[in-house]
Symmetry: C2
DNA sequence: TTTTCCATGTAACTCGTTACATGATTTC
DNA sequence: GAAATCATGTAACGAGTTACATGGAAAA
């Protein structure tokens, strides 16, 4: 339900059309959810059917016509419900990268350390990128801060693993 | 490819049948991947077709017959390839829980803090559980240690957010 | 004796993705 | 004039899940 929450939350701030929603999500919220274009359009259609949002066709000049979505009272209620549920609970995360770690002794120690050094470097690059993101408005900043916090924690973790592997 | 890596890695240690693989994954590796029973059987079939593993039917006493899977030389090669790729790269993680945070100002400050306190408590419970897991053999321990490290970091993060919300 | 565990599967379905189609408009 | 961007969609496909089916054995 995170995708619905996100779409409703964005539409709550001001009405938007599908393309706009999608591109905002792609470049500002890519750490939380990933939402392809066709999926976004489909979700918006579904939400319109449910009565959470209304659709208005707009055509400016000779541009391709836009479908502008606006939150309804029902949509606002749903948003509140989803928001409370999201804030109160922990969304589980799967660490696919741990599978390799579980079998790290299948490789020569030195090679394993080399490979993890590569992982470390990639992580460091991502951390630098996250730190370079300009400050966002309001509580959107939490999303960026969290990413920085998480990546720093992962970096420390990889260092700990490398250290342990070196020690033996 | 994490699922394949995991299955190959487990079969590398010793031959196993599908049910055994699935139940091990469910209770020891649930933090890395999630793999339902039908998916596990399907994956094993596919891997057999690819020649990574062989299948032998075994029937012990009057029990339901088992299909025992054993790694082939090709499977070992594939395992090595997948393992190196996994260790060297960062597997991206999506923080669905951040969507709520991005809209936290839609709620009265006090209520938001209350909801995050619930999240905090759930997190704390998970952390206690992870810490209570008995020590595993070899590098499987990394998986547990990472979970503990991650949950502790998330707990600190939630505390920071709550603190920031209290301060305004 | 009824439930749980062992052990394997099939069939239907949902969700989401990829690839494609369309067409105007701005940028290089 | 070509490429990228704006703007919306459809159609085909695939991966994975749920629900169901089977049947013996052990435990409660």
């Amino acid at each position: 339900m995170e995708r619905e929450l996100l779409l409703l939350g964005l539409l709550r701030q001001h009405e938007m059309h599908g393309y706009e929603l999608h591109s905002f999500i792609e470049n500002a919220m890519s750490t939380c959810v990933d939402l392809k274009k066709p999926t976004a359009y489909l979700l918006l259609d579904n939400m319109a059917t449910l009565g959470w949002i209304t659709v208005t066709e707009q055509r400016a000049g000779n541009r391709p016509p836009r479908k502008v979505y606006r939150l309804t009272a029902g949509g606002e209620a749903e948003f509140q419900r989803l928001l409370r549920a999201n804030l109160a609970s922990v969304v589980a995360v799967k660490f696919g990268g741990d599978v390799g770690l579980a079998f790290v002794d299948a490789l020569p120690r030195a090679e394993a350390i080399g490979l993890l050094a590569q992982r470390r470097q990639a992580l460091q690059g991502q951390l630098a990128e996250s730190k370079a993101v300009p400050v966002h408005a309001g509580s959107f900043q939490f999303v960026i801060d969290h990413q920085v916090h998480y990546l720093a924690s992962e970096l420390a973790w990889v260092d700990k693993v490398i250290e342990q592997l070196c020690a033996t």
